[in-house]
């Protein structure tokens, strides 16, 4: 091997480039091994409108079900973040008609109690754990629902920071809970009602309102281009 080739990363998928057979919504297609499910859709000639969003694993638009060869277990994933393998069966998740409660987050009187009015199904969790198993973000969803019901809003808000709102926890719930929507309400309530106001922020807003920086602004905004460039260069 030539000297300069030492800095090349081996990629099995390039060395042994091979096509695999997958099933998309019940139809078989040959696609290159290891590409993402979304790319497999494009490769197999499908126009994608619904079912693709940020393509970076953050937006939850591409929630999909898949099953690998000979395994009875149907799993969930974000299609932009999952590589295809031989024998995989895939179906994109359709939009699910979950009920979202509407509320005025700031006007809530007693957010921990209001949870039961907004989402009366939340305490009916039967502990089946299907939501946790369905979460492509590895959130302990079931635990989150219980913590919400018991009023531990802080923990819920931390646990669900990874939630991309794909909604895959919802169709599996036998108690008709939409855990991601419950968690979103709880997280917002935690932020709006149970987190202390940062004292420094109001100070800064008041400083701006009172014109504390006006002299500095006047100086900067009347500088010539050259003076301004020189001034900027002094700020490290």
């Amino acid at each position: 091997m030539a000297q300069e080739d030492n800095n090349v990363i081996d990629q099995p998928e390039v060395i042994r480039h091979k096509m695999v057979t997958i099933e998309i919504a019940g139809k078989k297609y040959e696609v290159p091994e290891g590409i993402t499910i979304i790319k497999a859709l494009w490769y197999s000639g499908q126009e994608v409108v619904r079912g693709a969003g940020c393509l970076g694993g953050f937006c939850g638009a591409c929630a999909a079900y898949y099953r690998t060869k000979d395994d009875p277990k149907v799993r969930t994933c974000l299609a932009c973040q999952m590589a295809v393998q031989d024998g995989m069966s895939i179906t994109m998740m359709p939009p699910f008609p979950a009920r979202k409660a509407t509320y005025d987050i700031q006007a809530l009187d007693n957010p921990k109690q209001d949870l039961f009015n907004l989402y009366p199904e939340a305490p009916l969790c039967r502990n089946c754990n299907a939501c946790t198993e369905a979460c492509p973000q590895q959130i302990d969803v079931r635990e989150g629902v219980w913590k919400a019901v018991f009023g531990d809003f802080k923990s819920v808000s931390e646990m669900f920071m990874d939630c991309v709102m794909c909604g895959m926890c919802t169709p599996v719930c036998i108690a008709d809970i939409a855990p991601n929507l419950v968690a979103l309400y709880v997280s917002r309530a935690q932020g709006a009602h149970f987190t202390e106001k940062p004292p420094g922020l109001d100070t800064r807003i008041k400083e701006i309102q009172d014109g504390r920086f006006n002299d500095e602004w006047a100086k900067i905004l009347t500088m010539t281009e050259k003076e301004l460039a020189d001034h900027c260069a002094t700020v490290k």
Binding site: N6, N7, V8, I9, D10, Q11, E13, V14, I35, T36, W42, Y43, G45, Q46, E47, V48, V49, R50, A52, G53, C54, G56, G57, F58, A61, M82, A83, K100, T102, Y103, I105, Q106, M161, D162, M165, S187, R188, G191, A192, T195, E196, P198, P199, G200, L201, D202, T203, R204, I205, I208, F213, W217, I220, L221, E225, L228, C232, A233, V235, K236
Partner: protein
């Protein structure tokens, strides 16, 4: 070679590198580096635009072609509106949601139309944070100066002053809606230092800042029952006989019908252009980032600015193949992560501005100090395990859960092994020229967020985009709403399109493509 064998040099040189201090480049050297290596200076990628408000200005070929493209709407199109509203917001990302919420809050009737779902945007992916000068040792003036330096002194001063001064009140608004920014022990907002900034100023929600803000804003749009038109892509605007904007025509992507919306004001919040893959670059942008708003505004006669400059984020993933173009957040470098070439050397101050860091990575790779992949990519290492070494085990996992998970899916533990990165097309620095109310030179046509230009100069500073979205989303929404009461709905015509087509004929004809692009064509044909 096996990737782990190649990574050894990063592990071996880590301790020695920790003591090394690399100064930021002085202006002259910085300009020299950028001119030589930054993609903005690759002359062959550019050409002049042949007609329209920016005739003879240069931009990248991909964008020029779309700007000169023809509308899919024919002259005799039936403009009878299906909907009427005070304020029509086009785009469902950060700027669109902020505009819709503020316009609605001010009492206007609002319709928000978006090409994909509400919230599908680049905003949702913003990991690095949001620059707001809340720290006592910081000030809006320092924020202004840092941004100006980053933007090569080309930023519109008025737009920038407004943004930095309204920042703190935006933070307050978001907190009141329930956004969970990271805090210090004393309850104050935790600030991190970002590339190109002299003071720590980044507000964060771990590395999910954009996601957290967007979850909340989307929920609020739904709670406020703002009327939505999802999977409706704007394909043309309408004007009255004075040339003012009076509405828009959409294509419903589900049933392929056209939808006409009459509006007293239109706010374009259509985002950026990453999916044009300028100069063949991969992109960190979302599926719909095809610059639609630029084409629509241009045909209406709105002037664009700084459309020859784009941001190539220094750290796009190069390996594994499935993550190509995906962003490795700048937060890693903010917390001390080193960039390391194939020889195990650092080669730039990692916290220099994005254009400098990107240019230096391209230099390393062009001069043979990059690491290549068998599929033909090249990159340099980002030493992520250094964070655990410096700040204790678990740091990467705690501070960058999104990034950990993203790589973990492909069997890579970024707290133990460095990641391979190369610049990725990230942001359109320029866009439609706006004033401090976010209005263009076309009356009642507003542009907010990435689609607008001027604020960021020729290089956007990290963390300024989220703030831009909130500030100018708000200003466009409030201004548009304030006009609605005293204003009658203007007539809907296509006179601007007639003018555009006439000019096209006189000045070298249309480019032969139909614009906007709506979605990139990744579907493999036979």
């Amino acid at each position: 070679m096996d990737i782990h064998a190649l990574q050894q040099i990063v592990h071996r040189t880590r301790d020695a590198r920790r003591k090394q201090i690399i100064p930021k480049l002085p202006p002259a050297e910085r300009d020299q580096l950028i001119h030589k290596y930054h993609p903005d200076y690759r002359a062959s990628a550019y050409r002049p635009i042949r007609f329209g408000p920016n005739a003879d200005d240069r931009t990248v070929v991909e964008l020029a072609t779309l700007l000169e493209g023809d509308s899919p709407i024919a002259g005799g199109f039936d403009l009878t509106p299906h909907y009427q509203t005070d304020v029509l917001v086009v785009g469902g990302g950060g700027a669109g949601c902020a505009a819709a919420l503020h316009a609605h809050g001010a009492g206007a009737k609002v319709i928000l139309a978006t090409k994909l779902r509400l919230g599908d945007s680049n905003s949702v992916m913003a990991q690095g944070g949001m620059q707001i000068s809340v720290a006592p040792e910081d000030s809006p003036v320092t924020h202004f100066v840092d941004t100006l330096k980053g933007g090569h002194m080309q930023n519109d001063h008025q737009l920038l002053k407004v943004m930095v001064e309204e920042g703190p009140s935006i933070a307050k608004w978001l907190l009141s809606l329930g956004v969970l920014f990271d805090r210090d022990g004393d309850g104050n907002l935790h600030v991190k230092k970002g590339g190109g900034s002299s003071k720590p100023r980044l507000l964060t929600c771990s590395d999910y800042t954009g996601l957290e803000i967007m979850r909340v804003l989307k929920d609020e749009v739904l709670n406020q029952k703002i009327q939505l038109l999802e999977f409706c892509s704007a394909v043309e605007l309408t004007s009255n006989d004075e040339g003012n904007c009076t509405g828009a025509i959409f294509k419903d992507l589900d049933n392929h019908r056209h939808v006409v919306v009459a509006a007293k004001s239109v706010i374009l919040a259509t985002g950026g252009i990453g999916r044009l893959h300028i100069q063949g670059f991969p992109t960190s942008n979302h599926y719909g980032a095809t610059g639609d708003g630029l084409c629509l505004a241009y045909r209406m006669g709105a002037k664009l600015m700084h459309i020859d400059t784009f941001q190539y984020h220094p750290s796009g993933a190069v390996y594994p193949e499935q993550l190509i173009g995906a962003l490795v957040t700048e937060g890693i470098r903010s917390e001390g992560g080193h960039l390391v070439n194939a020889k195990g050397e650092r080669f730039v101050n990692e916290l220099d501005t994005r254009d400098v860091v990107s240019s230096s990575i391209i230099r390393e790779c062009e001069e043979g100090r990059g690491i290549r992949t068998m599929s033909g990519r090249v990159g340099v290492w980002l030493d992520t395990p250094l964070l655990d070494a410096e700040q204790g085990p678990g740091t990467v996992e705690k501070h960058f859960p999104a990034m950990m998970l993203q790589f973990e899916r492909f069997g890579i533990d970024i707290s133990k092994d460095p990641v391979l990165i190369y610049p990725t097309l990230h942001y359109q620095n320029g866009g439609v020229k706006i004033d401090t109310n976010s209005e263009t030179n076309v009356k009642n046509l507003f542009v907010a967020g990435e689609a607008s230009g001027g604020l960021h100069g020729r290089n956007r500073l990290m963390g300024n985009s989220l703030l831009d979205l909130m500030v100018y989303g708000k200003r466009s929404g409030l201004t548009a709403a304030s006009r609605a009461g005293a204003m009658k709905q203007g007539t809907l015509t296509l006179m601007h399109l007639q003018r555009f087509r006439t000019e096209a004929k006189m000045r070298g004809n249309l480019s032969g493509v139909t614009s906007p692009m709506i979605l990139p064509s990744y579907t493999r044909k036979e």
